[in-house]
Homo-oligomer: 579 residues x 2
């Protein structure tokens, strides 16, 4: 490609609305343009990177035995009504009516459509398993789209759906996809980690997220330094306490203590002169309309996803002021497990088993209790893992040291189980002629988001540093001849040589100053730069720069093809990739 004839509208300044580096650089490198909030035009360079990601993903999906289909963007409401998601999905599901006043939505995901397809086609266990995938434009009407391609409304996703006849098959399909994802992300050149995740609103049995590790990531993951363990914070298990005699341990009689004007843990502890780990924090929630109390130690953070899963609910929210008053008979800030309204089940983090003699709210204004024994003074429905893991906690799997990392979710695998097949009657006849529900899995990769994540992970002050596997072009050949016809001729010759080698070259043949050419090549982040000037030509060499490391070397013009091939191989290898 000749840059003189190519459409790469680079920008000198960061766009005003760009908050994260990938958004800034994608705009400045002329790879995307915003059409409207959360909706982007993919320009030639941006689309090339997206297609490279998509094609690597396709190859790994095909290798894993999945088959590519393409399902519609516009989906009829009746399928979503069958699964109940027409009501449940919320406003991210963009709904509309066609000219005949029938209800439709723009597909944010395709469980309903694929299950509808498969239930009409697959009748026998002999046709299972099947795994169908697509690379498709999705729409989710995010309330606050931001960060460019990281959280858009319209975006490109690879989604796959597996259908199996039994649990063993479904698990095999799940781990098959898990491995395909690992292979794809490795080939893309990402530094990533698969972590345990909550299966959330899509529902189902278990799931993993694939996190690109980057300081700018929105997600936090707990990762073990010793073993493979990694989990999204909302999912990360906390190991049970080693000491568990707290319920039976001796404790002075509970008594009220006046704590005027103390509403926070800090205020209470400060007033009473105790540390926060001596206090039990009581949090009130409403899960699917029913009140629930949760206890954690004063210095810990409750994990509401764990609570929701323990209770078995769909939607969880903090109780509002009015509800708190009704349940505790006191203003907000004085809730406690003893003397709470009788119909409120109390769940306690299992760490609270390890001690006794707690301070807690007294369900009475400006008052707490001390010498609370959870075994003696109140009824606890269950002790369970309810809190957010902390870096000081041991790894729940090996006891090793935990560290927190920032990540960007680029893939997600779910074992769905029967969630959709039951609701949509997706059945087959088993070996005994008996009707059974298909067991499903679903698997997503954020294709356009990966390009942004790769930039978040690989950039410097001058611009993007693309992995060679997904760079819009592998090589930028910069001709610095000016009016020197010999340099121009040699550059043309090298361009032809590189194209002949099957290398994707952005050939900067423009009449621009060298500084402009260098800056744009750095900004766009072609992994390899080749610079030919008059002096080099005289000395029989071309300057070669590795964009990622900044390392410069000289390649001979005589025998260029071989020298280039070796240099290219080294650069790919430097990324942990095969050229």
């Amino acid at each position: 490609m000749r840059l003189s004839r190519y459409y790469v509208p680079t920008l000198k300044e960061d766009p005003a609305d760009a908050e994260v580096v990938s958004h800034k650089l994608l705009m400045r490198a002329g790879m995307v343009r915003k059409l409207t909030s959360g909706i982007y035009n993919y320009l030639p360079l941006g689309l090339r990177s997206i297609n490279k990601v998509a094609n690597i993903v396709r190859e790994e999906m095909d290798r894993a035995g999945a088959m590519e289909v393409l399902l519609p963007t516009v989906q009829p409401a009746d399928l979503w009504q069958e699964t109940g998601r027409w009501e449940y999905y919320g406003k991210e599901l963009l709904r509309f009516k066609d000219r005949h006043d029938r209800d439709y939505c723009l597909g944010p995901t395709h469980e309903e459509v694929i299950t509808d397809l498969v239930r009409h086609e697959i009748k026998s266990y002999k046709q299972l398993p099947v795994n169908l995938y697509q690379v498709q434009t999705k729409f989710r009407d995010e309330i606050r789209p931001r960060f460019g391609l990281m959280r858009g409304r319209e975006f490109i996703m690879k989604d796959a759906y597996s259908f199996d006849k039994d649990e063993a098959g479904a698990e095999a399909s799940y781990w098959n996809m898990f491995e395909a994802y690992k292979a794809a992300f490795l080939r893309i050149g990402l530094n990533f980690k698969p972590v345990q995740a909550d299966s959330g609103a899509i529902g189902g049995d278990f799931s993993h997220e694939f996190m690109v590790l980057a300081e700018t990531g929105e997600d936090t993951i707990a990762s073990c330094k010793a073993c493979e363990f990694g989990a999204n914070l909302e999912k990360a298990k906390v190991a049970p306490p080693t000491e568990t005699g707290g319920l039976e341990a001796p404790c002075p009689p509970m008594e009220e203590v006046s704590t005027p004007g103390t509403h926070t843990v800090e205020e209470v502890c400060g007033f009473l002169g105790i540390s926060a780990d001596k206090l039990v924090k009581t949090l009130l929630f409403v899960v699917d309309g029913n009140p629930v109390a949760a206890l954690v130690r004063g210095d810990r953070e409750l994990n509401d996803v764990k609570l929701r899963n323990l209770v078995g609910g769909n939607e969880i929210e903090m109780a509002d002021e009015e509800t708190v008053k009704k349940l505790t008979g006191a203003p907000v800030g004085f809730a406690g497990p003893a003397g709470l309204a009788e119909d409120v089940p109390v769940y306690a983090d299992h760490e609270l088993l390890s001690a006794t003699d707690w301070v807690a709210g007294a369900n009475k204004g400006d008052t707490h209790v001390q010498h609370l024994s959870l075994g003696r003074d109140c009824k606890v429905e269950a002790f369970a893992d309810l809190r957010v893991i902390e870096p000081t906690d041991p790894c729940p799997e090996c006891g090793g040291e935990i560290e927190f990392k920032k990540g960007i979710e680029v893939g997600h695998v779910f074992k769905l189980g029967l969630k959709y097949s039951e609701k949509m009657e997706a059945t087959f006849l088993d070996e005994n002629g008996k009707s059974q529900y298909m067991i499903m899995g679903c698997y997503g990769i954020g294709v356009s988001r990966i390009v942004a994540s790769a930039i978040e992970q690989n950039h410097d002050e001058n611009g993007c540093c693309f992995p060679p596997s997904i760079a819009p072009f592998e090589v930028c050949l910069i001709s610095l001849g000016g009016k020197d016809q010999d340099v121009a001729d040699k550059a043309e010759e090298l361009y032809a040589t590189l194209e002949g080698l099957g290398v994707e070259v952005a050939y900067d043949d423009r009449k621009e100053r060298p500084g402009v050419k260098f800056a744009e090549a750095d900004l766009i982040g072609y992994p390899m730069q080749l610079v030919l000037g008059g002096k080099g030509l005289k000395n029989g060499i071309i300057e070669a720069k590795n964009r990622k490391t900044g390392e410069k070397t000289e390649l001979p013009l005589e025998g260029f093809a071989e020298a280039f091939a070796q240099w290219r191989k080294d650069i790919w290898n430097g990324w942990g990739l095969d050229a």
Copy 2:
């Protein structure tokens, strides 16, 4: 690909709602499935054909210097309001509101979005010309979707947009695309013809349609047997008459004649005992709200697109009964050019210049006039080409013989001119620093429709006969071994050989009866079939069938690769294609 592990849900029966052969065969061959009216799931085989079409189109677009982008599906209303199409486009434009109550539509075409993109980026004549294209899912809310992929609501289209600094450049861009389209359709293996077309609602200066010739086509085209001329009927010029003295020719005085109860041309002519070519037919229209009368000979058909273009209007419709009564003072069926309401301009087909002494309506119930002279008895605003061409007309370009053919529109090139750039202020600074509007062109190819058209053009009673360039797989290798392990082993070996040659093979390794395998291979329409059975193996040969011609031959198992390569080349050549 092994058919035993592939998802090809063939059907034995034609689906009840399928009217045309491509729809029936796409469904029966397991290539598509209907999700809902006009919206289809593309299954693995169907998607493969679609992608092959798309990739050939991409290659020819790239070769022509166009650059691929991807624009959003969801488009904000404000851009459509700028061009006026938010009002004008009608109900095919599916409109909706997002969660913040802002207006959007699903893109049926992308003139607004691309012009918005380019006007923000391109400032100087130095950046022109530019041609950007995409392969994208479009949505048009057709009132009555039908014929499967031929007229769906959601479909895949390649659309390109060119921007030029002057007329010469714009014409060059137009003809560049014209040639690229010809190259693409040739490589796809279609029998097609580019024809002159009306530029219709998209507007603009001139345009061509690319028609796939097929008896089942919805469009009729006039085609010259002697020269290259071809035109959509609504566009096809009719040569002016050679005799033009009719206005001045002597004619007896006009007089009324009673024609009770005669409403049609046939009835009037029968009653008066004259042939239809002696009668002037007067048709009343309303163009953008204004009445207009058009005259054609009694045996001719008026072309309302020509009339609309002559008048220079946007929307044309037949006058309703009430309007006819108001303008003629008579019931429907008795309109004539003499004595019509004064404010109705009368346009006459130029053929009427060739004679005089006409019969026409008298603008009076049950009455006609005879001896009408158009030069003497009424005012004609203009004589022009206003009728539909007929097979007996000479070619308007060379005078040769015309024939009518049926066609399916698969491509359309438009020279848009300034239509969008003026309304959207897409300007650039020319060589003199003066602001100018960009001159645009737009160019569409119906990617998914091409797969259907290829089937309309290439099928027989047993199924599809795909051109090898766009067949889902080139070869079907059918193993007939049953329990014969030698045959199974040899088939595996041949499968590996073919894959090694880079040939796309559908390997039918299923435990099905030979009849089922043959029928499905014919139904899906792989261009080449290779059949290995016990007898063939014993004799050292494999049976090879050309699906299109039905021709069978035998290839030796010894030296198979070479023999196959030659046979494959012959089959591609038989399609007029290079393997």
